[in-house]
Symmetry: C2
Amino acid sequence: MNDKIQQFLASQNPETPCLVVDVDRVVDHYASLRQNLPGAEIFYAMKANPAPEIIRALMDEGASFDVASIYEIRQLMALEKGVHERISFGNTIKKEGDIAEAFAHGIRLFAFDSIEELQKLSRAAPGSKVYCRLLMTNAGAQWPTSRKFGCDVEMARDLLIKAQKLGLDPYGVSFHVGSQQTDVRQWDIALGEVHQLFVELEQAGVRLSMLNLGGGMPIRYREDVVDEVESCAAIRHALEHHFGDHNLRIWVEPGRSIVGDAGVIETEVVLISKKSADDERRWVYLDIGKFGGLPETMGECIRYSIETDHDDGFKGPVVIAGPTCDEVDILYDQAGYLLPLDLKIGDRVRILATGAYTATYSSVGFNGFPPLKAYYI
Amino acid sequence: MNDKIQQFLASQNPETPCLVVDVDRVVDHYASLRQNLPGAEIFYAMKANPAPEIIRALMDEGASFDVASIYEIRQLMALEKGVHERISFGNTIKKEGDIAEAFAHGIRLFAFDSIEELQKLSRAAPGSKVYCRLLMTNAGAQWPTSRKFGCDVEMARDLLIKAQKLGLDPYGVSFHVGSQQTDVRQWDIALGEVHQLFVELEQAGVRLSMLNLGGGMPIRYREDVVDEVESCAAIRHALEHHFGDHNLRIWVEPGRSIVGDAGVIETEVVLISKKSADDERRWVYLDIGKFGGLPETMGECIRYSIETDHDDGFKGPVVIAGPTCDEVDILYDQAGYLLPLDLKIGDRVRILATGAYTATYSSVGFNGFPPLKAYYI
């Protein structure tokens, strides 16, 4: 675990559960991504963690912002005047009133993936730069992003042609290879399809200026993954392969890879028990669960590393669950977790790389438990 | 839909999404359960909906309360002095400090399902009435409660004997046939096992006084279910069959069946679109999703009835999804939902029987969206 967080936990001994995020590390990740993808514009996907401390730090570094809702836009506008030029409204599902409000704030970059959304944009944000999200297959992604967003390539072509007729500026396309994408070849496959679309559009008189590569770069949870240097090299190579000496604006929308491993959740063991005398596994109940900030354990998709003070000793198989009276509040059952045999009730346990998709996902007060407390240091 | 809620929605036209709960209907359900299970003590499972308006109304009716956390206890204690005599701390996963605080509030009823929890109780709540939760199989339940809570019957017997030795009062046992239990025979199967346990314990010198039947009575969502009259008749019959002319205290812990159908969520259609020209289904995006108060759609478990203003017309197949930029925020894909072909963007849609497990489950601010607003009328 990160030294700064370790020192904070040791010296402050905060009540559990809590999330501690090292903001310097967030900035470091932003800087290293700039280095690994020179020339790309980085739109931080603020849904991953919209804490003002993180937003402020990334604003100061010159980041742009990919927003999911009008509420995120209001938060950004309240933090800094002039930030509207660095905001892209990336959700393809928007109320027309929210588009109008964004437009009134000066925002001119919008995503869409349907004729219906394009019509809303033409009415509520005339003349704006619009980009079409493509539906990709997302093989290799640990957290799927394959079906809800985007349209197929044929539809995208028709919509981008239509955008021009509707008085909008057909600016580019976006796609998302899937969150936690561990197969670098997916970039090449996707960019091949996208290039074909660019060619067809040019033939139809629509010249796009921007290519939004989305997010999806994986971070290390329980298992090693391809690192950022390698992912970015694959992206650069695929870009060169398909687009050659282009002069497109290249966007990326990282969230998880910027904030994920900058955070640690400190939690306490509430109970360790068995269900019968011959139960082969211990049940370890923590004071945080699915409703307290760990919904990405749904389907045991994201498998966090768990650190205890007894990790040198022998380990045994466990089921790990949260503290609520809800059966679905089981974190890991099938994923083969082992925890130390010496682990005791009352021990503190750290869940690593929990800076993304935790704090704001936690429930308002399910079972009476308050939302996850967070410290940004 | 309930007239009172319909009138409220028509006259107030509240911003969507919002939950509207008819508190009179909650009270009616409480009264009808008292009638259908005469003599039983009703502990309202306040996790289902802890709104002060509901708690107040049920307190005035004389209800007792099944609580899941020290936070729920604090809420109750702040509402009415003396309520501690009507509180049962029903979560089997408790921090020892929370047990001590509950004990200091005067609470003397606690659930457990392990030796470890019993030891905490003996230290932090000496002399209290404790009841052991049994692990049941829960065939027939729509929302599972089969694995996380409870221990097997042999372990329960040993633990209740041990409780006496630890200076606690072995008060009874509890079990839960599974939330939304639609197979009334499960009550008979469960009570048969439980009776055998009572007999064995009596032989070992431990005479229990209480039998906690848990919750699990189903409510109507999209499909008809066995009604309360029939469920309660099955329970009374099973009790008589196995326990004959007992003088046990009988507890029930209803949550969903008291508040579920008293609530309606009003939501707006944000987008209706297709992913390709030949897509056979429309995607209907609402302004509420899994993270806004509908987590019980996980795995499409709970299938809510959806009402629109065009229900008389022709319908077609849809995928129904929420408004966030998250792939898992799809409500129904496999469950075969049909919605009117006339449904339009901007239309209001009502999700019925959403009074339980919605408002407090909603996320603090995922994607920036605020928690679900609720009106208790």
